[in-house]
Amino acid sequence: MKYIDLLNFLNPVHFPIIAIMLYFLGAFLIVLFGRNRIVRNCIAFLATGLTLTLLILLVKPILIDGGIIPYWMGNRVPAGGYAIGIALEVDALSLFFGLLVATAVFVAILYSFSYMSEDDNEPQYYTLFLMLAGGVLGMVFSGDLFNMFIMVEILTFAAVALTAFRNRVTGALEAAFKYLVVGCIGSTCILAGTILLYQQTHTLNLAQLAYVIPRVGGTNVTVAFALLFIGFCTKAFIVPFHPLAADAHGAAPAPVSVMISGVLTKSGIYGIIRLSFFLFQTMNLGTMQFWLVFLGSVSMFVCVTMALAQHDFKRLLAFHSISQIGYVLTAVGLATTLGASAGLYHAMNHTLFKGLLFLTAGAVLHETGTTDLGKLGGLSKKMPWTTALFLIGAASISGIPPFNGFASKWLIYQASYEKAVETGNIGFALVTICALVTSTLTLASFVKVTQSVFFGQLPKECENAKEVSWGMRLAMSILAILCLVTGLFPNAVQKLLTIPAGSALFNPNAYINGMWQSHLPETAAPAVQTVGVWNPTNWLILLMIALLSICIVAIASKYDAVRENKGEKVALKYSLFYGGEETEFSQVGGGDLFWGFKQNWRHYFSFMHNLHSGIVNDYSLWAVVALALAMVYALIVL
Amino acid sequence: MDFPFVKEAISKLFSKPSCEMYVPDKTKLGAPNYRGRIVFHPEKCINCMMCERVCSGNAITHVIEKTPEGEDKVTRTFYLGSCTFCATCMDFCGHGAIEFTRDYHMIATKEEDLMVSGTFIKKAPVKKAPAAKPAAPKPAAAPAPAEGGKVIKPRDDGKPVQVPSKCVYCTICAKKCPAGALNVDRANKTWELDEDLCVGCGTCSDACPKKAILMPGDEPVTEGAPAPAPAPAPKAAPAAAALIQPRDDGKPVQVPSKCVYCTLCAKKCPAGALTVDRANKTWELDEDLCVGCGTCAEACPKKAILMPGDEPVAADAPAAAPAPKAAAPAPAPKKEEPAPKAEEKPAEPAKPVEPRDDGRPVQDPAKCIYCTICARKCPVGALTVDRAAKTWELDESMCIGCGNCYEVCPKKAILI
């Protein structure tokens, strides 16, 4: 139709579709030429790297200038008020999530190069991996509800297949099957919701839906909302779908875990945000805020307590993943600009630190062959890099300043408490308290991991462990540096990324306008203002000054004049004190820690343990009950 | 959760601390009767080894060197680092050569600091015995045995000699002998000394109720003389018709009017020949078992047992007449006088001592014989008894009111 100018590819308008296609193309090419290892790695690297570059190039026009890029496949611009073609629309929110996806995928691919090198069926792995990435990116950029459904299905299949990829691992198949069943219930919900919306509005275009739905209404729409909401909750593994995530993470290879927690759950969150802020614009209703905040708070609390009771490294991380998603949902559900930007900030941080943690878990699994906390210990001497990187990740997720987890959590506290004071509703204050306590519980469970895996005593089985290869370390280091950077410059991050993205939530008309070139009145989101003060850079400088000066004083006074064990054999003096006993293996870790806490909560813990029965029927039942509840709630309040 | 003691803590904050502001001080001594650093008096030691034998911690050792003169130079060492401070050695030492002081400062940086030792030269048997000590008394003692037949002299090698005429074969000496060197058969009336075992400590001599064992330094005794006792007998005879006469077969006789049936005699009897029933007020002597050692008479607090040689006593009334000869006549007769009708009842002290109501003991001075048993048995060392000065003191701050003293007092002179 149109003369294709090669240079035209450099127009940012094409970047989104190129980005998505790069992933799928890469997947396709690897099937064809993936036999050779180098070719395979090059293709994967190029596909992910180029995508990331393209998305970074989009930051300027979209996030900073506030533009919106619509893209009609095949240049099928809507005619007659109906959009028939397939559309992409990239606004600040989409791009924000897209960036997260691209970063996580890039790092995970880097990590996979060495991590997966000992597995067979490597080409299939990369194919599935890139399919998953493309699915998520496509879902995030899609301007079309049905395309979102298709992408959700693609990513669900890819995720299921990747979960079962190492099918000799205990529980991999089981987890995949459970995920498939409940995930399909969720997908079916999305499809049913989509079609109900279509029946009412006769369109599938998101922008058009966003324009039409508030003006149509009706029972069908309400039911559709509930169906879509539950469908996206399944993808985000919000309670009551969290056992699926736990099972899947436990069995999947580490980079896949990064994808599931850092990317796949984000797609669910994206869906929920798109649904409730744009399509239905329900988020100014107090009842819907309550619904989201309630779900988020329950998720963050239930999952963190579940995590405390776990004795498998990856399973524990999986529960934490959902707990952090609970934070995101809570913050977004507050429906204030501060809350939304805090939530998105936390979503970003979650991708970074959770990815880092899963990668370190993978490194441990790679070297020792197990992730059971009871069988590990004392790896810090064998794997100092991994330990340091893990500590950064753990500090980030537990909200230890100056890492990124603190910055976003702190904003969430501010946002929720501000909301509480604003509305005079003490319930939101309880959310603040819940969030703060959850944060400490998170710290507790990471102390447990630190002690059980990296410190404590080295068991015999782990003596052959050594530091992982440079490739893996590089991947982890990238994430660690990002954790630190995003934590140290929260203002810059907010200004550059989260506030534009967060403001987009409150300006659905801009989304509609961007797609349709219509001229609906746009509402500028209220400016973000925080009442608290926190300046991590200043604090860090102070800490560094203090630390340095203390170190200088210490070194001057021969603080480092220590006695160390020389030679291979451990002299009596340098052996550990076991109450006088000879060195013996008495690692304290795993489920033995935090008895004092668990003792007080034992009924709760045993109840939760029985609840998570591991039977797929039970989980399906939860899904059905959640669906029913959501429908009833939606019908009552909407 | 509650916080008890808050009030107490605040009040204590403003009161004087109850600390003993102890700083290391060499001059401080332990509590009375504290058994601290051992002091050894080598000059008193006779090297009987009793202490070494009874020491549970093997803390006592000795080294014997031969001096050029052929004497034994004995060095006895007490290693305080091994001592349990049980004082058994002190109790067993017949000569008071071991003393426990109240000095508790037994701090040492070297092992030698904890050694207490003393050196003495054991009297060589051949030379010393005749030369030094017995020489003097011998002339004085000489006249007595001259009258009798066979004179039994103490041996000069430091070992005991039996005086058969005095010996009642009560076996006490054999029982007491630390070395087990004596073998006494009561039935056959034999007394044998194992010369190899005997260490010449003199315990047997000290223990003998009849003074029938001679040690070096004792006066020789003339065999056959039936003790100087019988002589006074006729002197007492005319005093009253109903007199209770001592038996002449060497066995004891009870004076019912004096007897309080305290069973002390029965307890003390080495041969177990006495059966005393306090309830029924009976006093029976098994004639076959009795060895006539006289322990019962000595033990009797009321002097209600007559032995050969004692003066006869009026059966019904405690005679004032025998006063001049009675051993301790002073308090008893005076109190008995106003109540002559109380035939069977033993004398009660006129001025009864009331027991204290705080559970602590009270001494009955009338009964107390200052034997110090109570002081020794006191677990906390609260009692100080001085036999010589006849004082009995109770440290009330230390006394815990356990009643041990009451139980051990042979005279029931302590009231609780």
């Binding site: 006088g580 | 349990t84 401070f85 701090i107 940086t109 904890l114």
Partner: protein, 148 residues
């Protein structure tokens, strides 16, 4: 100045680590009684610690049984220098009444250098304070030697 402060302080804050090497508990109780309000050794800076790594003075009670010998030696070895070893009561000095038993590994001085013996069975609390006081002086001297 720093060195001077250290030298000043060494004798003023002796921390004790107590090892029971098969003791009858008599000495153990007396050692605790040293810390009670009546004697209050804390006013001299004494403090009972739980780990040999913190200790300056190791107080050993009991006759050092075979079972405890290695454990005692290991614990003593783990005490950082300057350290001072104090035997409390007769048992660790000689074995006392348990001497010669098949289960007693003999006096402690056979294995390590003992700095101070506090004799007694059990020693009076005052005597314990005496001994510990002497130990602190030894400690200060040892610290001086260590510097050289």
């Amino acid at each position: 100045m720093f060195k001077k402060l250290i030298a000043e302080s060494t004798g003023k804050s002796p921390w004790l680590f107590h090892i029971n090497a098969g003791s009858c508990n008599g000495c153990d109780i007396e050692l605790v009684s040293v810390l009670t309000p009546r004697y209050d050794a804390e006013r001299l800076g004494f403090k009972l610690t739980g780990s040999p790594r913190h200790a300056d003075i190791v107080v050993v009670t009991g006759p050092v049984t075979q079972q405890s010998l290695n454990r005692v030696l290991r614990s003593i070895e783990q005490v950082p220098d300057p350290k001072c070893i104090v035997t409390m009561g007769s048992c660790p000095q000689s074995g006392n009444v348990f001497r010669g038993s098949y289960s007693v590994a003999g006096p402690l001085s056979k294995y390590v250098h003992v700095d101070v013996d506090v004799a007694g069975c059990t020693p009076k609390p005052e005597a314990v304070i005496d001994g510990l006081y002497l130990a602190t002086q030894i400690l200060a001297e040892k610290r001086k030697e260590m510097k050289k």
